[in-house]
Amino acid sequence: MSLAGNGRRGTPERAPGFSGVPNLTVVADREPATSVAGPAVRLTDVTKVYGQGTRAVLALDKVSLSVKSGEFTCIIGASGCGKSTLLNLVAGLDQVSSGDLATTGQVTLMFQEPALFPWLSASKNVELALRARGVAKAERRARALELLEAVHLGGFANKRPHELSGGMRQRVAMARALAQDVDVLLMDEPFGALDAMTRDLLHDELERICTERTLTVLFVTHNVREAARLGDRVIVLSSRPGKVIEEYQVPRTGPRRMDSPEVSELAASLTDRLRVEMSRHVR
């Protein structure tokens, strides 16, 4: 398994300055997503290998997928399908071993934990994102308050993360991601640590925000209902190595909820498909 050094093409635009520290501005310098027709994220035969020699682990095996601008795509898979690896690659936190990866517009990543800086208030957390983008100091506070208002946390700007509940922290993280003025939002099980009631409400919030701002979302989860509830499209990955094995288009017929019949139906077929995949790994 000598995939690491072989047939490495990389993406020409990303290659310069891409050694060591991920260089996210390279992505930002390009045309904004709205002016380009076509996919916001495109992976072609992307392979990722960790380690070398006999201890090499193939995390992703020739994954090809593309996400249209403004589309909400859910990625689902059992353990070891390389979901998080995939998002790290798209976010530029890690490099592909081979294959092409192209993104259009600014990309950001939200984690399962809010990953807020505990020494900064909610508003300062958002302001840091603005600052990193080069927004003028005088503007930052007002912009941060607007963004917190957008996630209904206008009244909590001066609270520190530990003073907020888990759901509120995740919304601050969302405001911080929006502050980056992103076109593509990558989400790595962002609601996995929340209770069911909070998660339901945050699904509605996320849907509203994405529609208002025509965000392209790549949402990784291991919750089939969540995938069925949120996605315009659901992609199923196999495990060890991760490979696209199934794709479901979800027709948009109106507002959905976790308990809508069409969500339950899709969730059931996703569960079946995943069980078939898991049983492949019986030894």
Partner: protein
Amino acid sequence: MSADLTDRRALAGLDNLELQEALAAGPGRKGRMAAKTWAATWPKLLAIAIVLILWQLVYLYDWHGSSSNGIFKGPVQTLPVLWEELHHVTLWDAIGTTLSRAVVGYTAALVVGSLVGALVSRVKPLRAAVGSIITGLQTMPSIAWFPFAIIFFGLTPATILFVIILGAAPSIANGLIAGVDYTPPLLLRAGKVLGLKRVALYRHVILPASLPSFIAGMKQGWAFAWRSLMAGELLVTIPGHFSLGRLLSTSQDQLDMAMTISVMIVILIIGILVDMGFNQANGLIRRRWGMVDTGNGT
């Protein structure tokens, strides 16, 4: 549309419910100031009382006749001497000299320690080369540097300053290095996702994240600096300057036990006061970061 409104109200309601829960669990910060001050003060008063009683008992025990022949002094003889000295300019002069040396030396150690720590924590080859030297220096008793420093600088304030820096800087550097090492990887990734790089990442993520460990290192560094300073003032007498160490050695020469103990008490109190300052800073950070367990209003 109304369903949307209901959802939003539900979210706001849930926020309030969860916040009230957190509030109820937290301690009542204000309103009980007097009670809190008392709670913080009485153990210290008790500790002082215990020390005074033990001291008096040792005096009364009269070990090998040390008390009856006047070598050892009890609190009853010593404290009036201390009280008397507090009204003399000599003691305050000495405190002033010693503290100004402490401030200058410690500040220099802070600068050196922070610079070395920052470089070593970020530059890999430096770390391999210098990392263990720093720890080695930290374990070396600073008094062992005095012969070298006295030969090199002579009996000058520079000698004392040099030893203070060598005593305190390694702890400060190590505190910073440990803090950088233990920066939560998730926060680092979050910083990188925001587009922070190199200096900006260091300034906005790594440095604030290492602050608690850095302060712990500063506190330890202060203890080393204070010890080095006292050793220095005892060994290196600079004519014309009254310092606490000098007072101590003078009273030793005059076999003045009451004065000796008085100066020791002053040295102890200064050490404790500075330590309290560091603990305050540490507590402030822990509260701001939510690292204090607010389980049951202690």
